[in-house]
Symmetry: C2
Subunit: 83 residues, 2 copies
């Protein structure tokens, strides 16, 4: 069994209005040093197989078809062995 951790980010060239909005809130709270906030996703799950290669294939398919929007987002993941 593997534990997968996926990070999904918008591509650097794509604007992040949600990040901009939260940052404006930070500024009004007096957190004036915070800049360039970008909000992405962090997804954890287990993959119930002992073959790393097929686990990687499954994670890639999950990311491309369901978790990320391949048009404007990039994903990266780590796979750790878990018992």
């Amino acid at each position: 069994m593997f534990k997968a951790k996926v990070i999904i980010k918008r591509r650097p060239s794509i604007l992040d209005p949600q990040g901009k909005a939260v940052e404006k809130g930070a500024f009004h709270l007096g957190l004036t040093n915070v800049k360039d906030t970008r909000i992405g996703k962090f997804i954890e799950f287990t993959v119930d197989t002992d073959d790393r290669q097929s686990a990687e294939k499954e994670v890639n398919e999950y990311c491309i078809k369901l978790l990320s929007n391949p048009i404007m987002e990039d994903y990266e993941f780590t796979l750790e062995s878990a018992k």
Copy 2:
């Protein structure tokens, strides 16, 4: 200047209906080994100060007041020096 990376997760005791829904989709796509999907947030930003202690204070305040919901979420962050 520091680069902050924040991960926000729901507490383990709190249900994640979004994760459950996506996982059901995965099952119907034939990704039957994927289990226990939990969806959180990954947030990046820069903190424009050279004092690590004040940067940490600012990140904590940002997380507690704006980025996370302290009632049901936990956050963790890393701070890397950036020029």
